[in-house]
Point group: C2
Chain length 376, copies 2
């Protein structure tokens, strides 16, 4: 089961609440990524405090280790991970197709080698839906073919065709797996089409032909210029049903989240806040800050003087930089917490601005400050 | 300033409260080790919730990186680390002497090479006190010579002599550094003497000749059998003033903490709970559990079914083992939290048992269960 209640509309932007079988998600929502079943460095309590209503798990990784059958034996991801709130699993398609050199794709599915031990595996639409049902999150994703960037038209067309064909098989398998629609996971379809407007339009039409509780835009943020991503959003988003959540997969940078909300996107996921923290970068209201740099060794300001998170209340750039240089786990934990807080605080501000019908002004002011790079 | 108020005595065991310039510490106390100024994997909030009243920082490491002068500019360790509660720094002696191959010891001090870049440094009693005053914790330690194990008598005697001589210089330098005794750090002396009872007795006599607010027993838990450590405690502890805290440095395993409390020890520190978590081992009421082992891959019990910590309330051995195998930071964070909680919960039980005058019974029961190795 899944339902979207829209509480406010401002231009194309919408603010509301998505109700899943594991609880509610305020939208627009950002989902931190928990690839192996944990958001790297954060506890369940940390995630809750940051305001992360929903997290994402990667089917490809969880299928390989510890295995969907083991997770199923332990009651699915909510019981196995201790995260008993909304969770979404991707279809594994993105990971499998990023293994192009060691994956063989045909119209029926994909055969690939594990990046862990080289063992051979096969994903078909039916298999991927079966695996996700075993993982038992709140939302599962259809198995799609994600085109790389750049991509020739002929290949982008094949991917759109396969994505539509596979969706029909995913929907059928999902119906077979569902014992009780009210308590089962919700299946989202995915629009592909690379950066070709007409293909995006056709894919959107074919995918939304199914009465699904939510729809995603895949195959963006894969290397194309942001202006091209924005063009595709402008073309695709209006074609997705207004009363269903719209999920922009794998996006992204804070300024891109703000931009995409303006086109009517409700959900995002990205590894950026977590991965960046581990490489020495934090996000702040005045733009990214490479806190590992020597210039911060003696800087007693918080990571972001405008941030209310507990890391910024307690710790200086100098301390975080020191911990990073000494490979102290705590440094990564604290920077990750700040980044996830920063993203969730941005989403709170976005929701507030939409509710107040001030989203355009908010977006202009946020982007102006964010892109100024001026440190306070 | 530092004061010990003893609230209950049961045999030689004592329970009470130590008041430092940064707050109170319930005793007997276990201090987690924050080598570089953070307890690896734990936030300040985590430490508080586990009941860690006091943590330890390593002078040697902090002197090298980020440097005591930088920390001093940032207001000392409390402001620099965000841990504004009681903290103790060691003297650096233990680290410097463990570099024996690249350290030259003489009666005036030690010249050593940094393990980071090979640069040459010199620690003298005066220098170590000056550095610790710059770090500005609640408790600082005298510069001592820690004998290795095994150690020839002649060398152990030299170490005792140097420790006594250096203590006089530490006391003098401490007086010079102290601008206001009420707000400055408290200096503890350290008893050495290897595993030779008469040397321990002489060292205790010479060290307690100074009117210091606390005394430590150093040079144990360096490889000697636990029975020998216990003999040394039996000889040394009664020679330390009853009204001052007694600190057994670098100890240790849970069963050794219980044993040492029985001889009248009030303070402990050890890397075991934090380091073990990172190598795949947790402590439980029925003994150590190597949670990284394959036998726990499908075990849905908590790390310790008798533990009240939030990790044991929420997560299984199977999940922790999975995270460990996937090198997920969160796994180490959770295991570290459990271990520090386990240690602090043991200290709470110890304090409660002493207060109830049931320490002997508690110790017998705890050790019987802990050494049973029976999993529940």
């Amino acid at each position: 089961m899944l339902r979207l209640d829209i509480h406010a509309i401002d231009g194309a932007a919408r603010a509301g609440e998505m109700t899943t079988r594991h609880g509610r998600v305020a939208t627009p929502a950002f989902m931190p990524v928990g690839t192996h079943g944990s958001v790297k460095g954060l506890s369940v309590d940390d995630l809750i405090v940051t305001g992360s209503d929903c997290i994402l798990g990667n089917t490809y990784h969880l299928y390989l280790r510890p295995g969907h059958e083991l997770i199923s034996r332990h009651g699915g991801l909510p019981a196995y991970t201790g995260w008993k709130r909304p969770m979404l699993t991707d279809s594994g398609g993105y990971q499998v197709f990023s293994l192009r050199d060691i994956a063989q794709i045909d119209d029926d599915g994909v055969t690939f080698q594990s990046h862990l031990d080289g063992s051979t595996h096969r994903f078909t639409p039916e298999r991927v839906i079966e695996i996700q049902h075993a993982l038992s999150p709140s939302i599962i994703m259809a198995f799609d073919e994600c085109s790389p960037y750049p991509c020739e038209r002929v290949n982008a067309e094949i991917a759109v065709n396969r994505t539509s064909h596979w969706l029909s098989r995913c929907v059928a398998e999902h119906a077979r797996q569902l014992t009780d629609a009210d308590t089962g996971p919700a299946l989202f379809g995915i629009v592909q089409g690379s950066i070709l407007a007409d293909l995006r339009e056709r894919s959107a039409a074919e995918v939304t032909d199914y009465d699904l509780p939510g729809f995603a835009i895949g195959g963006l943020s894969v290397g194309e210029p942001v202006e091209v991503m924005e063009e595709m959003l402008a073309v695709t988003t209006p074609l997705l049903p207004e009363d269903r959540p719209r999920y922009l997969m794998g996006v992204g940078y804070p300024d891109n989240l703000v931009m995409a909300v303006g086109y009517g996107i409700d959900m995002f996921d990205c590894v950026l806040p977590t991965r960046s923290a581990r490489t020495g970068l934090v996000f702040t209201s005045t733009g990214p800050l490479v806190y590992r740099n020597a210039e911060y060794a003696d800087d007693d300001r918080p990571l972001d003087p405008d941030c209310d998170c507990r890391v910024c209340q307690l710790h200086s750039r100098a301390y975080l930089r020191h911990l990073y240089k000494q490979n102290e786990i705590t440094g990564i934990v604290l920077a990750t917490y700040h980044n996830v807080w920063f993203y969730q605080d941005l989403m709170r501000q976005i929701r507030g601005a939409i509710t107040a019908h001030e989203f355009t002004r908010f977006a202009t002011e946020f982007l102006s400050t964010y892109r100024s790079g001026e440190q306070r």
